[in-house]
Amino acid sequence: MAITITESAARHVASQLARRGKGIGLRLGVRTSGCSGLAYKLEFADELKPEDVAFEAHGVTVVVDPKSLPYLEGTELDFAREGLNEGFKFRNPNVKDECGCGESFNI
């Protein structure tokens, strides 16, 4: 098991990284917050810390800190369009429920 990223998400990450002009990839993580316990973190990664775990998918490096990894095992990051909105979506098999606002989730 690992963390995967769909081809369309990878395409968007790569183009955003190129536009930004720096960064080694994408950092995924979880932090305790929101109304339901945990929230996702989605950031550009500027450096690989020694404890980080890195995944390669469709030419994009995805970096995860070891504390977040168990919460994200098996997660697929997708890029989706919902009406006028488009953005990234976590498909996380570990999630038990989400709060109403979709900001945070529980495992």
Partner: protein, 621 residues
């Protein structure tokens, strides 16, 4: 779930406005103020005339207080009301001052610290220093275009607590928000970027106008430790001027000169000394009040010869400092020169010869302490980006948080947060009518409180009784630049408050910190399971409590067999809750939920009926 966009790492910091941060070198003879410009370059702030130094002189005149250059002239005209070298008096009682008679002041003995009688009344050294600092603050505010947000003031490494406290008080009195006092040699090392190294041992050789200090510093993982200090409080650049002055008298066969001629010749002596830093010879030309004309040439070789004993006088304390530190001259990784007098080639040669390596000299030795203080102030104020190297001293080694229901640690201040830092989070009550909240402050990376280190406990009392979840309790963690943590809790509705102060790094060695960190990585999966179990238990307790309450108030709505089924489900929740299987707990809770659906509907109906009972139809719009 909501669609997300990729965020900049640490976006919050990027949007924070820059804070006006200054570093102050509060010297015995001269003081300076520095800042770090937007482009990251540290500079010393000049006055309108381009002068960077502020003479550490305060004059209490008939028409008011003057500090700096404005007070220089009064030094000879009104010596009793013109305070110089006040730094020597900081935190000192009259009995501490062996050389009290050397000062022309009317000293008044006072408990704790000596006071000086002036036209403006009795002044403590703290007040006099505050007047100097006020002049520096005003200079900074003009240059930076607004009030100073953060200041670092330097003190000699050998200053004791009383002297440091006096310095801090003076800065407060001058309206400066002091984030930290910094040792002068450490500031010099910071200015040279030595704090970016991993570790090393450095000597800071500080020859100022009237004092000589030598400090041996050891850098270990970003923290400077002062291993030894030594010096001579009556040796400085002025003594070199005096040697040249004596040489002039001898070479030109001048009979004892008048005070005016003395001042003139001392000035010429100083000019010659300064010229010799870049030339092989310096002319000394003057016409005395007696009509005698002096026309001499001082060669570099002669200068070296007449000042050799002075140089030698600096090396004796240097040897002592090294011996105290248990080091040989060649053990050092670098030597930093501080103080205008270290521009002399003789000093540089002597230092290079003594330590067997060329000293660091590329920064202005007058400014290097103020520059380092400015860099430190800038870092402490949080103006540096995440890409920069931080002094490890100034980050939290392990996360700080508190215990929440179920024995879970909720992190409030994350590991590696830069100091000073303030973070707040809202919590609520868990039980109906709960009037107190126990706050357990913990440190560590693990999910469960039992695996973290307990720092402190306190209670917030006097929360007004409300239904569970209605109270809003803001818990604020604040860690100051010295690593002191204070935690406060405040109920937002009533304003009741409780707080505690703790020293978060107390008693934790570097090894322990490293082990706690490693553990948190290795146990990530266990921690997640523990978190799941704890959360399931919280949920189980919650449902059980709610069911219990409902049975007590509305148990009559149930038939006997329905009641038996619910009681059985409740018992299963309770026994599963005490087991270690999170999934089993969750299943039992779901079973109980299912068993009570019908009961809940009936209770709702009854609730609605009761709410409507006795009301006229027309009030129900």
């Amino acid at each position: 779930m909501a669609l997300m966009q990729i965020a900049e790492p640490d976006e919050a910091r990027a949007h924070r406005p820059r804070r006006r941060a200054i570093g102050i070198d509060l010297g015995t003879t001269n003081s300076l103020v520095g800042t770090v410009r937007d482009d990251g370059i540290a500079i010393v702030l000049p006055d309108a005339d381009g002068r960077t130094l502020v003479p550490s002189i305060v004059h209490y005149g008939a028409s008011g207080v003057a500090a700096g250059y404005d007070a220089v002239a009064a030094q000879t005209a009104d010596p009793q009301n013109t305070i110089v070298s006040v730094k020597r008096l900081m935190g000192r009682g009259l009995s501490d001052l062996a050389d009290a008679r050397r000062f022309p002041y009317r000293f008044v003995d006072a408990p704790g610290m000596v006071r000086i009688g002036t036209r403006d009344g009795e002044k403590s050294p703290v007040e006099v220093s505050a007047d100097i600092l006020r002049a520096l603050r005003e200079r900074a505010e003009i240059a930076l275009g607004g009030p100073v947000d953060a200041a670092v003031v330097t003190v000699p490494a050998y200053f004791d607590d009383a002297q440091r406290q006096a310095t801090k008080d003076a800065a407060r009195l001058a309206g400066l928000p002091v984030l930290r006092l910094l040792n002068e040699p450490t500031a010099a090392a910071v200015a040279y970027g030595l704090d970016h190294g991993i570790e090393g041992t450095y000597a800071v050789y500080d020859l100022g106008g009237g004092t000589f200090d030598i400090s041996i510093l050891r850098l270990t993982r970003g923290v400077f430790e002062v291993l030894a200090t030594n010096g001579d409080s009556a040796l400085g650049g002025d003594d070199f001027d005096h040697r040249v002055f004596c040489w002039i008298l001898e070479a030109a066969k001048v009979s004892p000169p008048s005070p005016e001629d003395t001042r003139l010749l001392l000035l010429r002596a100083r000019e010659a000394k300064e010229m010799l830093t870049g030339h092989e010879a310096a002319p000394i030309v003057a016409t005395l009040s007696t009509g005698q004309r002096i026309d001499l040439s001082l060669t570099a070789a002669m200068f070296s010869e007449i000042t050799r004993t002075l140089i030698e006088k600096t090396l004796a304390p240097t040897r002592r400092a090294l011996r105290d530190a248990g080091l040989e001259p060649t053990d050092l990784d670098g030597v930093v020169l501080v103080g205008g007098a270290t521009r002399m080639r003789e000093v540089r040669r002597a230092v290079a010869g003594f330590f067997g390596q060329a000293p660091l000299t590329n920064l202005n030795p007058d400014e290097v302490v103020a520059l380092g203080a400015a860099m430190q102030a800038n870092a402490l104020a949080g103006n540096r980006g995440r890409d920069d190297d931080w002094l490890l001293l100034d980050v939290i080694p392990l996360s700080l948080g508190l215990e929440t229901i179920g024995g879970l640690a909720e992190k409030i201040v994350p590991r590696n947060a830069t100091l000073p830092v303030t973070r707040a989070q809202d919590f609520t009550t868990w039980r109906d009518g709960q009037t107190a909240m126990a706050i357990h402050v913990v440190q560590g990376e693990r999910e469960r409180v039992d695996d973290c280190r307990s720092l402190a406990r306190f209670e917030l009392r006097g929360i007004p009784p409300m239904v569970a979840g209605a109270a809003r309790i803001r818990v604020t963690f604040q860690v100051d630049a010295d690593g002191l943590l204070s935690v406060s809790a405040r109920e937002q509705e009533t304003g009741v408050e409780a707080s505690i102060a703790v020293k978060p790094s107390y008693g934790l060695s570097d090894d322990e910190i490293a082990r706690m960190l490693r553990d948190s990585f290795e146990h990530a999966a266990n921690d997640m399971a523990a978190r799941a179990l704890a959360e399931a238990r919280v949920e189980a307790d919650h449902v059980a409590m709610a069911t219990q309450g409902a049975l007590a108030s509305d148990g009559d709505l149930l038939a006997a067999d329905e009641r038996t089924a619910i009681d059985a489900a409740l018992a299963r929740v309770r026994s599963a809750r005490d087991g270690a299987d999170a999934a089993a707990v969750r299943r039992a809770v779901e079973d109980l939920n299912r068993a009570t659906i019908e009961f809940a509907t009936r209770r709702m109906d009854r609730g609605v009926r009761q709410a409507l009972a006795g009301r006229a139809i027309d009030t129900l719009a």
